[in-house]
């Protein structure tokens, strides 16, 4: 065994990789624009220029497609490297860039609001990525969950009003203004003594 292929970390390339990627791209867009229920497999397949049955074959069912298409990596750096008083602004800046990078986060937010599996996945991102990083900047690690929860609330609220609900004032703010307004808030949630 192991004759035809060395055991790389990446799976062997398949002839259908292009189609698979096209499907995932289309799925991300549709989930971000329509949410889980209204993003139909037929529409996604049509966007990708591929038959709906292929989506089923590649990803099993709609939930499998969602799981494959919406994988989130917040790419959180180690905030411990920079001056403690700049953590708040750095977090906001990082999240803004992440959110505007592609539609994954908007898709996850839209789906999480109405779909149980989507909500669970948001929770796992929160617990698996945000919380561990913020644990290191919190004064007392025991308070980290509360602080991370407050930070997530503020950041998700901004994303909701700006990218999903599109409230005009939230849309029209520049990234710099957002950092200036939310930076101190995050700074306090993450580092200030409990009120």
């Amino acid at each position: 065994m192991g004759v035809t292929e060395s055991n790389d970390s990446t799976p062997p390339p398949r002839r259908s990789d292009a189609s698979r990627a096209a499907i995932l791209d289309a799925a991300r867009e549709r989930f971000a624009a329509d949410g889980y229920e209204r993003a139909t497999i037929r529409a996604i397949a049509k966007d990708a220029g591929i038959d709906p049955s292929m989506v089923m074959r590649y990803y099993g069912n709609k939930e499998g497609l969602f799981a494959a298409a919406v994988t989130v990596d917040l790419e959180l750096p180690e905030f411990g490297d920079l001056p403690p008083e700049e953590i708040g602004r750095a977090v906001v800046t990082h999240f803004l860039r992440m959110w505007e990078g592609n539609g994954v986060l908007t898709a996850l937010l839209r789906v999480g609001a109405t779909n149980e599996a989507g909500a669970r996945r948001m929770q796992s991102v929160f617990q698996g990525q945000l919380l561990p990083v913020l644990r290191k900047v919190a004064p007392d690690p025991a308070e980290a969950p509360v602080r991370a929860g407050l930070a997530a609330g503020q950041l998700l609220g901004l994303a909701l009003t700006r990218y999903v609900l599109r409230f005009p004032p939230a849309v029209e703010l520049s990234r710099e203004e957002i950092v200036a307004w939310l930076g101190p808030t995050l700074q306090r949630y993450l580092t200030a003594p409990q009120p």
Copy 2:
């Protein structure tokens, strides 16, 4: 004309008012729990113990039902009556009580995240109720939209993490703790000088 009924502000009572109210209650619950698409007319009618066709006759179509069921009144008081430095905490306290009063706000938030009409309705609540009240407490009325947008973002973010996504830290916070944490944030967004 005007023989059988005096021209009160309330419409004449109908024999079907009980059924209509039961439908609206069931609709609110379903919209809050499932969002717009997954809240089916059949399920709502079943909850209300009424035939689905009656829902159509009373409210025209699903959008009409949603419009009739989800009417939001934030019941915002005049915050100008109290000491200026307590506005932040007062706003947070009021919103917490509103949100836990009934499921209307959760329904609106869930629907607004995936439904265009729902998002528009949230915007109209923002512009028609929140903004006018906050205009009076903002240092400069011209800044009111931005300040109200920031406040809405923080408040909706809390509601999202606490009532929709149910992040454990956000759920476990007591109302007093939330007021203590978010009060200063709202205070700053509403009254502090632009950063």
